[in-house]
Amino acid sequence: MTARATETSKGGASFMTRRAFKKILIANRGEIAVRVIRACREMGIPSVAIYSEADRSALHVRMADEARFVGPAPSRDSYLRIDRVLDAAHASGAEAIHPGYGLLAENAAFARACEESGVTFIGPRSETIALMGEKTSARRVAAEAGVPVVPGTLEASVDAAALRREAERLGFPVMLKAAAGGGGKGLRLVASAADWGAATLAARGEAQGAFGDDRLYVEKALARPRHVEIQVLADSHGNAVHLFERECSIQRRHQKVVEESPSPFLTPELRGRMGALALALVRKTGYCNAGTLEFLVDAEGRPHFLEMNTRLQVEHPVTEMVTGEDLVKLQIQIAGGARLPFGQDDLEQRGHAIECRIYAEDPERGFLPSPGRIVALRLPEGPGVRNDSGIYPGYEVPVHYDPLLSKLVVHGRNREDALQRLRRAVAEYRVLGVATTLPFFARVLRDPAFLSGDYDTSFVEALSVTTPPPVDHVIEAAVAAAAIRALHDRAASRSTAEASAQAAPPWWRAGLGEAHGGRR
């Protein structure tokens, strides 16, 4: 990597024109694989997709330059098989692997296997992934770097009595978390001592099932916190910048559904302080490539470090829209040994961006997944609208994977402008065949707390806005459309009946008609 960098500076080639790799394999699927393919194509780098049996018809396979089969539908037999993914990389001649997010993206063993087999892993070093992936070691290193962490234990434990003593010292409510945690698994809010026993059992079971590791730790549950994260980028030459914050307080089941930047809650002072804290941890760990530090900001405006995601985030487009930078292309260049093409002072937040995650989930039924066929699809377009999508009309949403279909991102001059644009885009967005989170966003966009920017992580539970009853002329339109379709369907079934009658041999019709005196 150092050799590459030296070559770059000697050759004097500019940052974005030099090809970092001859070919890149994308160890992911869905919208994020499509996103990475786009970056590769802009850089003139051929891309290799991988796919399971369930994904032969997926958009990322169609769009990539090459595609390699990696196994049966369940992720553990295909996308999570390190050996098969590496075989695909070697067989295709890929020099680097972009892991996307989820799947193998934060798997230190995978990053190590890449390093050992001579394929560049587009992300941080495997030791860094291991250090930050263990949530308690991440808390310890953050504390050492002078970054305030949420009060609680710094060591993970399976000792129920010790955890209990710590919970009582902190005072209920507390959060019980899996040391190997992620994606809201093994996470329990424990309101009082009475709920302790059941919560530890549930959290442990979930952690064991999801990560094969049932060690837990305890954190003080902050009252009505905001979830604010800082995007960082660091190269292998010791340069690091932050790309400001994303506000991610709109969550269901501890997973984000709406993100925006700038945060309507952050003052310039707090933004600057959080950016500096993030960079302190980046320097302390010798972090390289793109990463995100998640913070909870309490009601008094104090940030507490929660965890670091050592990968590209789902919501990275929000940052791209306000900074004008392409994080995926930067990741690839950094992995190729290039220096960051800008310093902190070259970066600024321009305007306001908001993202809505379009999941195949039914908000009317507790966000229950809704797999099925996309019967018809209309994506919103026009000024300031970006779609990062992994679907197309006729696409069958598989049951085996995360139900994220697409991300809708808008950019506006300011928050007000972005909200107007988002309301327009959500109304324009039509998905038929599967239930989606779109009706939920239509409600969020009418909620006074969201509109004023005064919201926290309890927002989804507190959302009181209901869908207003349809107005008369809309009911009229629905009935008219249904009645006309009924008329068509009846005509179609009649002509089918007539056609089959005509298809019968003429002697049969004639004979029957005559013999029975024209009973028809």
Partner: protein, 165 residues
């Protein structure tokens, strides 16, 4: 053609005539001039007295689900004039509620046992599917008659999970 329907909790009487895109619809005694053009992308353009709607019409139960920019409205035909195919409308009423698996997955937790009283919307089972745990809730208040699954069991779409009386 004359139809009776329920939509958004209301009962309506509708009469429809016409063909090739131009229709006369009489709705609650009001005559509407309707122009409907279907397009191959799955949507249809609807013009009613000059107002424009982009709709998507799908068969749903004993009627149609009509997607409109503000959301989807279900228009269900009521007896006796229900046209064409489509089974009888599901009745609430006195029959038991059968909770079935909406997708293939694995039962993670069973939250109720038979004989137990439940509230409407109370969780019955937790099912893991599409990488997430999903709580399936009771569609009505009542008593659990039968639990057909156990923890750890894999189920297919439509599998009967719980019956609530």
């Amino acid at each position: 053609m004359i139809l009776d329907a329920t939509v958004a909790g209301r009962e309506v009487h509708v009469e429809v005539h016409g063909k090739d895109g131009r229709y006369a619809v009489v709705l609650a005694g009001r005559a509407l001039d309707v122009d409907l053009r279907e397009s191959p992308d799955g949507f249809a353009s609807l013009l009613i007295d000059g107002r424009s709607y982009e709709t998507a019409i799908e068969r749903r139960g004993a009627g149609y689900a009509v997607g409109l920019p503000g959301g989807t409205l279900v228009v269900e035909w009521t007896e006796p004039s229900r046209p064409g195919a489509g089974g009888p409308a599901p009745h609430g009423g006195e029959t038991a509620a059968r909770v079935t698996a909406p997708m293939p997955g694995k039962m993670v937790r069973i939250l109720v046992e038979s004989g137990q009283a439940v509230q409407a919307d109370q969780g019955l089972v937790v099912m893991e599917a599409m990488k997430m745990e999903n709580e399936l809730r009771s569609p009505r208040a009542g008593r659990v008659r039968e639990v057909h699954v156990r923890e750890g069991q894999a189920v297919e779409t439509g599998a009967l999970l719980v019956v609530v009386d």
